[in-house]
């Protein structure tokens, strides 16, 4: 179950400050990296909601992000709608597609859920890849950025764009954290732990899981909107299953079921990728080794592991009454 502990708040704020200073003191290239981190972090938060709390290891989250980006681009660039309504349509499309996938897969578990989401994600990928109207594998451009000059923001300034992206990341985290500690989010954790008992308590678990997927689609949609706004161009690459795989790596690297972990994981993965590729072409192998090591080390992830150490220190030195506010990362086995 999720608790927004002090340690989590401090870590999140520190991460955001780090990203903001990295962007403002760094070059244009540094800002590109920060936006890349933001997109991956939001996608990973969305996936953590499903996988970490609901036990639904989805391989279609990249596709859901892509659906939002495409829907936004179709409305604004193809049909000439204004940007804000187009963005809302983009989010709505992600919610609907994600909810539908959740609804039809609500009774599958474990490897079957993974495969089913893989199938739906690849279906969407293939659809956009083959669609000539939408540019096929070349992708589509003609997207423009929001005009926020009315409130004094110049979106074409890369620093302003990055700050706004950080704002969206904070919003995505805040919304997800709020929902995860609500009755809805805790019930989702309950379904993950013991679905039968949750049914016996009168909870329609299938509908609950579908709703969780729909909400997760909304968060993934935010990532899709930033991706489209960032490069002003989208391609089917966004939807391919390895994008979801990368998000899953980020979640496990940072700490499954912690929400802050995915943000830390995204920072680590993207920075590692860029740092290592300065020295060698073989950063894939390095990421692979890190991933295997993370799983073998107990699967708690970097943030999850630190939190685990802190909690065991605390419970050794203090009275056990603090348990309620102490976070309980749900690492390890998710069957």
């Amino acid at each position: 179950m999720f608790y927004q502990t002090k340690f989590r708040s401090i870590t999140l704020i520190a991460a955001l400050i780090f990203l903001a200073s990295y962007a403002s003191f760094g070059s244009y290239f540094a800002r590109e990296i920060v936006v890349e981190i933001i997109i991956l972090a939001i996608l990973a938060i969305s996936l953590d909601l499903c996988a970490g709390f609901g036990g639904m290891v989805s391989l279609c989250h990249g596709a859901i992000m892509g659906v939002a980006a495409y829907a936004f681009a179709i409305m604004s660039a193809k049909l000439g709608w204004p940007l804000f309504p187009s963005a809302l349509i983009g989010l709505l499309a992600a919610v609907v597609v994600s909810g539908l996938v959740g609804w039809v897969t609500a009774r599958t578990n474990g490897i079957f859920f993974i495969m089913a989401t893989l199938a739906f994600g690849q279906m969407a990928y293939t659809f956009f890849f083959k669609s000539r109207w939408l540019g096929g594998d070349d992708g589509m451009g003609g997207i423009s950025r929001f005009d926020l000059s009315a409130i004094g923001l110049e979106m074409n300034n890369s620093l302003t764009f990055t700050y706004l992206g950080l704002g969206v990341l904070l919003l995505a985290y805040g919304l997800t954290a709020m929902v995860m500690r609500s009755g809805f989010g805790r019930t989702l954790s309950g379904i993950h732990v013991n679905e039968d008992r949750m049914k016996a308590l009168g909870v329609n678990t299938a509908a609950h899981r579908a709703k969780a997927m729909a909400f997760s689609g909304f968060i993934a949609g935010l990532a899709g909107l930033i991706a489209a706004q960032h490069t002003l161009y989208i391609s089917p690459e966004l939807l391919i299953w390895t994008t979801s795989g990368e998000a899953l790596i980020v979640v496990i690297l940072g700490g499954l079921g912690t929400l802050v972990g995915p943000v830390i994981g995204a920072i680590l993965l993207v920075l590692m990728k860029h740092e290592i590729s300065d020295y060698t072409d073989y950063w894939h192998a390095f990421i692979g080794l890190v991933l295997i090591f993370t799983v073998l080390a107990g699967g708690r992830g970097v943030f999850g592991q630190i939190e685990y150490w802190l909690n065991s220190l605390r419970s050794r030195h203090h009275d056990p009454d603090n348990h309620q506010t102490a976070g309980k990362p749900q690492g390890g086995d998710h069957a």
Binding site: M1, Y3, M178, V179, R181, S182, G183, F184, G185, R186, T187, S189, G190, V193, N194, D196, R197, M198, K199, A200, L201, G202, V203, N204, T205, H208, K211, F215, P320, D321, H323, Q324, Q330
Partner: protein
């Protein structure tokens, strides 16, 4: 309150429940007795909706509920505690009760407020914890809690939904005499607006709390009556008590 008519359940060719009829009045404490394999737990599955009957009808307060699934029946006020612990193992006892309380109070679909701080939910958790004597163990993880505490939580989860009809499957199986005493008191203190069906092997408890007793054997009802009648009945003695008592 609960009316069962001509209920049957076959598994393949095996008749686990045969043409069973029951009538339980509101507020009654009904004990179900019977040897191993008599179909007692199957009967609870059929009542709770986790198994579909092959034949027969079930009415709750006059409403036919056979077509309803387990979720819908739970929402109508049927709660159940299990013979084998069926808990949220990786969560704390408080979190377990929180889930049950949130479900019962209609908060499990609310997406804004922190449910662990909700006053109604907290109050319900404290009440139930008091009732099943778990107030001091609330922050213990279920997986590390003692067997006795887990049995108490098993009943607590069912009670936390404030059911109309409570189905308890051997609530005291495997616990010591102190715990059985405590459980006895809990049952006596339960308000009479809850109707209770208990599958029980502890004779003292069964005769002590029951208003009426139903005895099953090979899926059929072989006797029904007051505890006094049951004690004196020859058939019951033969199939059940005659074997020198049964212990799980």
């Amino acid at each position: 309150m609960l009316e069962v008519k001509g209920l049957s359940k076959d598994f393949g060719g095996l008749h686990v429940i045969r043409d069973l009829s029951l009538s339980v009045t509101a507020g009654e404490r009904r004990v179900i007795l019977g040897p191993n394999g008599a179909g007692k737990t199957t009967l609870f599955h059929l009542l709770a909706g986790t198994l579909k009957p092959s034949k027969g009808e079930i009415f709750l307060d006059g409403q036919p509920i056979k077509a309803f699934d387990a979720v819908k029946r739970a929402r109508l006020g049927i709660a159940r505690s299990y013979q084998k612990n069926n808990l949220f193992e990786t969560l704390t006892i408080r979190e377990n009760l929180m889930l049950a309380a949130a479900a019962a109070l209609g908060k499990s679909t609310h997406m804004v407020k922190d449910s662990s701080r909700h006053p109604d939910i907290r109050q319900r958790i404290d009440e139930i914890a008091e009732q099943v004597s778990l107030a001091d163990q609330l922050d213990q993880t279920v997986g590390t809690a003692s067997y006795g505490n887990r049995r108490q939580l098993e009943v607590g989860l069912a009670l936390a939904t404030r059911p109309k009809l409570l189905l308890m499957d051997e609530p005291t199986s495997g616990v010591g005499p102190t715990m059985i005493d405590r459980f006895h008191r809990l049952l006596e203190q339960l308000p009479r607006d809850i109707t209770v069906l208990i599958i029980e092997h502890d004779m003292d408890l069964a005769f002590g709390v029951a208003d009426r007793i139903t005895v099953l054997n090979f899926g059929e009802k072989v006797f029904e009556g007051t505890p006094e009648d049951t004690r004196g009945n020859a058939t019951v003695r033969d199939i059940y008590l005659g074997t020198g008592g049964y212990h799980a």
